[in-house]
Structures are given as structure tokens and as C-alpha cells.
């Protein structure tokens, strides 16, 4: 087991696997990866940065879910009142924290498959200099999106001018590069992710090898 290489696992792989088949579109991809982990092919290196992002993601999902459970056709002032209420805050906090605890419970009780980054690891400014060099050398892409309703996913347009599309800049970004460079600093041979934007990151010297799960 100790001969297995360390694998830095991106937040999307973690959360997707924990959400399960019924709730996640890319679950099976994450499942295949964790099967390999259970067979001893890799040891998962859990970074606190990933866990921080995980908690934030769970809060986003919980907020969306609690919002969807609220009745339809509420006015803006009614929604503001709900959003500012203690009940709404508590509900989102309770659900997301319960989910986070469930994940931490699993990963902290299996030292054979999950390791944690050395708390004494120091990240240098030079590391981010590499990130800046990489980012400045690559321009991403522009995509056109239809505005969509957060509740039902249907297309929507502005009530005043009818504007209903946007051009958005899409590219790998500072958080992606931070994950990648941290992965290298923590001694990981691989970085596993399901985010296609990682495929566009040029190879940085001595970095972990990016494995795009698909």
C-alpha cells in the first residue's frame, strides 16, 4: 500500500462521489476512480484547500435546495425576508454541516486510503509566480450563454430590454492553478479532476501530472 503514488483529488471528484448516482451526473466517473483507490492503485491526498472548497460547495447546494423547497410566486420582499431569516440560515447551515461531517467522518477513519497534507507545508510566493506566468501565456475562450432561471432552468430574458444572452470568458483560473501547484508541493504524483478546463493547462515544470477523468 505504501508504494502507491499520492493522488491529489479535486473537489469535484470528492463531492460527486459523495452525492452518489441518484444525484450527480458524473458520479460514475468519480466512482471508477475511487474503485482504483480502494484497490490500492493510489492513495488520496486530502488537502485542506479542497476541504474548504468542499464546504463552500455544500453550502451552495444546500442553499439552492432550501430555496427550491420554498413555495412559488413569492415577491422579492418576501424572498429577502426569508433569506434574512434565522430559520433559513440555520437550515442551510445544518444541512451543509451535516453533509460535511459525513464526508470528514469517512475520510478521517481510513488512513490506508486517505492521507492529509503535512500541516507544516509552506507555499511560496514563487509558486504563485509560476501560476501567473502560466496564466499570462494563455488566453481562454469566449462562450455565449442563454440566461437561465435558477429555479427551473428555463431560458429567460430581461423584462426591460429583452436581452437574454451573454458572452462569457471561460478559462482555467487562479483557484485551478493553486490546486495544481499545491498538489506538487504536497508531493502528489497525480492530480485527478473532472473539470475539462484542466486539460488546457500547459505543463509546468515539476508539477503533478493532470489526469482528466471522463
Amino acid at each position: 500500500m505504501s508504494a502507491s503514488p499520492l493522488a491529489y483529488v479535486d473537489t469535484n471528484v470528492f463531492v460527486s462521489y459523495a452525492l452518489g448516482e441518484e444525484r450527480e451526473e458524473k458520479f460514475q466517473i468519480a466512482e471508477r476512480f475511487f474503485e482504483e483507490v480502494s484497490q490500492g492503485k493510489y492513495i488520496v491526498l486530502v488537502s485542506r484547500f479542497v476541504l474548504t472548497e468542499t464546504l463552500h460547495t455544500l453550502r451552495k447546494i444546500a442553499t439552492e435546495q432550501v430555496y427550491k423547497e420554498i413555495g412559488q410566486n413569492l415577491s422579492q420582499s418576501e424572498l429577502i425576508e426569508i433569506a434574512n431569516s434565522r430559520e433559513f440560515r440555520n437550515e442551510v447551515n445544518d444541512r451543509s454541516l451535516k453533509a460535511f461531517r459525513a464526508i470528514i467522518e469517512c475520510i478521517t477513519s481510513d488512513p490506508d486510503h486517505f492521507k492529509f497534507g503535512d500541516p507544516k507545508t509552506i507555499y511560496s510566493e514563487e509558486m504563485f509566480s509560476k501560476a501567473l506566468q502560466t496564466l499570462s501565456a494563455c488566453l481562454g475562450e469566449f462562450r455565449v450563454y442563454h440566461f437561465r432561471c435558477l429555479k427551473c432552468g428555463g431560458t429567460i430574458g430581461c423584462q426591460h430590454c429583452g436581452f437574454d444572452w451573454e458572452i462569457a470568458y471561460k478559462a482555467f483560473n487562479a483557484p485551478d492553478l493553486t490546486h495544481l501547484l499545491m498538489s506538487s508541493s504536497l508531493g502528489c504524483k497525480y492530480l485527478f479532476t473532472m473539470d475539462q478546463y484542466f486539460a488546457k493547462v500547459p505543463r509546468i515544470q515539476s508539477q503533478s501530472k493532470i489526469i482528466l477523468l471522463s
Binding site: N12, L19, G20, R23, E25, Q65, T108, D112, F116
Partner: protein
Amino acid sequence: MYRLLDMSAVFEDFDLRKVANVVLMKSFSFLEGIFGDAGEISPNQIASAVLESSLERLVPKEITPEVTDYLSRNTLRSIIGLSPIQINTIDKDAIRKLKGSISWLSKEKINVTEIIREMREC
């Protein structure tokens, strides 16, 4: 038949921090004789020193990567209010338990990669 005394009135004003401070302040005069400039020492500093020396006794002398990892796991658990685990705890079923462990969080099928992508681009 014996009845237990009602001690609620006694504990009503009981404040552990206050008691600890009183004890530490009493120790303070004793420490004045040891440290030259005792004015620089606060009860909190003393408490930290006592805590650190206690931890030193508990933590094994040799800090192996396994011990560091064990401490990391328990630190993480304590941050979110989970009880500590023993150093020899190994749940071989943990990966299976993790699968779908939070499926109740959403009632619809979602794309987490997309959600995280959006977060990273904000």
C-alpha cells in the same frame, strides 16, 4: 431513603474560566520569583504554557509521518465537532460509506463540476 442535595444554586454562578483565572492569578505571584519581569506574563500565557507542556507529555517523542497524519485527522475532526478517533482506527469500509453519503442534500440530479467551475470563475 437518601436524597441527593440540590446543588443547582451552587453551580448557577460557577464559571470554569473564572475559577481557572483565579487559580492562575494565585500562581502568578509564585512565578514572579522565577521570571525576572513578571509584568510581561499574563494568565493566558501561563495557561498556554501549561497546556503545551501537557500536550508534550501526551504526544509521542518520535513524530513519525503516521503520527503527524493521525494528529491532522483529529484536528480536522475537532474543527467540525466530531469526536477524536484512536490512532489505530481503520475503517476499511470508508470508501464504500463515502459513496452517496450525502445524496439527501439535493433532490435533483446536479452537475457539481459545473457548480464548482462557476464558483472558481466568480
